[in-house]
């Protein structure tokens, strides 16, 4: 059973917000989905070697190496345009992000 506290903790971990009504329904939906996926408990996987599931990709992948070469990627102006907040510092465009230290932000 997934508790109310679990849901609140998960919201913080996942950095998402849900409204009050959404949260109520969320607990029920999560319970339904987790109840359904419980069917996996009965699946017999004793024969699956650990090496194979750790690389459980849909095609058989192998490591591919390329040369360690320096490539310059031009910075398209549209990449900067799409940044939510920016300003001209007088010597180039600065991108503005919220403060990560202390309580003061934006």
């Amino acid at each position: 059973m997934i508790s109310k506290e679990d849901i609140e903790h998960l919201k913080d971990l996942a950095r998402v917000e849900f409204g009050e009504e959404e949260t109520k329904k969320l607990a029920k939906d999560m319970q339904d989905i987790l109840g359904y996926i419980d069917i996996l408990k009965e699946a017999d996987v004793a024969g699956v070697a650990s090496a194979s599931w750790r690389m459980a990709y849909s095609i058989d992948l192998k490591n591919v190496f390329r040369k360690d070469e320096e490539i310059t990627h031009p910075l398209p102006p549209s990449l900067i345009d799409s940044f939510p907040e920016k300003f001209d510092s007088g010597h180039g465009t600065y991108l503005k992000v919220p403060a990560i230290l202390g309580e003061k932000s934006l």
Binding site: I33, A56, S78
Partner: protein
């Protein structure tokens, strides 16, 4: 008009690219209000491109590749200079700064982009009702869903407002809407088409593919967009009969897995597929077989997908691009930006993924699911020792009514029960229309069937698909 017919008409000077593109643009103006298949139409650009290609043809160039073909593109594939929103509010103003690999390839082949199509937000859904910009309607009955998540792309082709389109398929998002809209949808082998420039949903499963009117058209687009790309480490260059475009007979034995024909399957779909199998029985050996881990596929998928989603969606934080909301501290900025900018289903999957990956639950859920995934893959491997291809229904039901499953996520998830195993195994499959079913209100709804082949053997799908399709004529 199909791509093949269009190119024949161009060669015989029966039409021009400009004329054909204008027909589509005019039809979009009247039809899109009803269907809501397009989120944006690139009218001016499409006309300019069409005129340019007409000049090339007039000066003696023979129409080849996808020259002049008007294509609609799912809103999670980047076209440089255009908004690409994944039908989400958080990316409502986001402009792509580069072309996806498939877009680069299509541009080189001369394709024309009509616009970007509606979808379930970030490709999470099976009905296109999860779009932040309103649901798309089924072209055969506006009260029903077109399927999803590539619902806009499938409805555009099914509704005659695109010659072909691109979609993406993580658990059936090309094939299920193709079946619901009466068109052809191809999910290529994982790795056959580069994912560079496709917004990541579940990276170990996502694959771009075409939605078209005919199998030959799907093959034509696939041959343009496939191939190795430096920007996607999982992409590979195709070898073997598919790459060589072999035309000698590759399919002799057809497998029919009994797990796909159980009680949950609509009897009308079953009847149509039984009829197809009976007809094929005259020229092919039909083998009944078992894929014993099929019953675990959906549960396995709904652990692996949310797990990958919770990681992939972390980038939409309101910091780098999209919409940023204010808050008293950084955590609140994140939570508010994501809470208001991202829709309910996507947030639900982020939370579910965070849960199944968290300490104490990881082994019971994620590790177990990965192991089951190996078993599902093994089922197909064993089956393909006996048969060349496998036939199965694409969907358990006919297109459902708008709103019918929107409130209950689990019932929505179940609509992908027949398409998901293919993604988990990474093999290719094509859905094609095989008939119609009549509803009580005398509405006729399309029935889809999928053909499944081993890794990188798309050629088998095209071969058998064309034969089944030819019966219609």
């Amino acid at each position: 008009m199909t791509i093949t017919e269009f190119h024949d008409a161009l060669k015989n000077k029966k039409t021009s690219v400009r004329e054909t593109v204008s027909v589509y643009l005019d039809k979009i103006k009247t039809e899109n209000k009803k269907l809501n298949a397009y989120l944006e139409v690139f009218e001016k650009e499409a006309v300019a491109q069409a005129e340019e290609i007409d000049i090339r043809i007039q000066s003696g160039e023979t129409p080849s590749g996808l020259m002049g073909v008007p294509i609609a593109v799912k809103d999670n594939i980047l076209i440089r200079g255009h908004i690409v929103s994944a039908a989400s509010k958080i990316l409502g103003n986001y402009v792509a700064s580069y072309d996806a690999f498939v877009i680069e390839r299509l541009k080189k082949a001369g394709a024309i982009f009509l616009g970007r199509t509606n979808m379930d937000e970030f490709a999470m859904g099976s009905s296109t009702e999860n779009s932040a910009y309103g649901p798309t309607k089924n072209p055969h009955d506006s009260g029903r869903v077109p399927g999803g998540s590539s619902g806009g792309s499938a409805a555009a082709v099914g509704g005659g407002i695109a010659m072909a389109s691109l979609g993406s398929d993580t658990g059936g998002s090309i094939r299920q809407p193709a079946a619901f809209c009466g068109v052809v949808g191809l999910k290529p082998t994982y790795g056959a088409v580069s994912r560079s420039g496709l917004m990541a949903m579940a990276s170990s499963l996502d694959q771009i593919g075409p939605i078209t009117q005919t199998v030959a058209d799907a093959e034509a687009i696939f041959n343009v967009i496939r191939g190795k790309d430096e920007m996607d480490a999982t992409s590979v260059e195709l070898g073997g009969p598919t790459a060589k475009r072999r035309t000698d007979r590759q399919v002799q034995k057809i497998g029919v897995p009994r797990e796909y024909f159980t009680d949950g399957l609509d009897q009308r779909i079953k009847k149509a597929i039984d009829g197809t199998i009976e007809k094929l029985g005259k020229n092919y050996e039909i083998v009944e077989l078992s894929l014993p881990h099929t019953k675990y596929a959906l549960a396995c998928y709904y652990i692996i997908v949310p797990a990958e989603v919770s990681s992939n969606m972390a980038r939409y934080d309101g910091i780098r691009y999209g919409v940023r909301k204010e808050g008293i501290n950084l955590l609140e900025v994140y939570k508010k930006s994501r809470g208001e900018g991202i829709g309910l289903e996507v947030r639900r999957r982020i939370l579910l993924g965070t849960y199944v990956l968290s300490h104490g639950y990881y082994d019971a859920y994620y590790t177990k699911a990965q192991k089951v995934r190996v078993q599902i893959k093994k089922d197909f491997k064993e089956a393909f020792k006996e048969v060349d291809v496998i036939l199965a229904p694409t969907t358990p039901t006919l297109p459902f009514k708008i709103g019918e499953k929107a409130k209950d996520p689990l019932s929505m998830y179940l609509s992908d029960i027949y398409t998901i195993p293919v993604n988990l195994a990474g093999i290719p499959a094509i859905s094609l229309p095989i008939g119609w079913a009549e509803e009580e209100d005398s509405v006729k709804l399309p029935i889809g069937m999928q053909i499944i082949a081993p890794h990188f053997e798309e050629n088998k799908l095209f071969e058998l698909g064309k034969i089944i399709e030819s019966w219609k004529q």
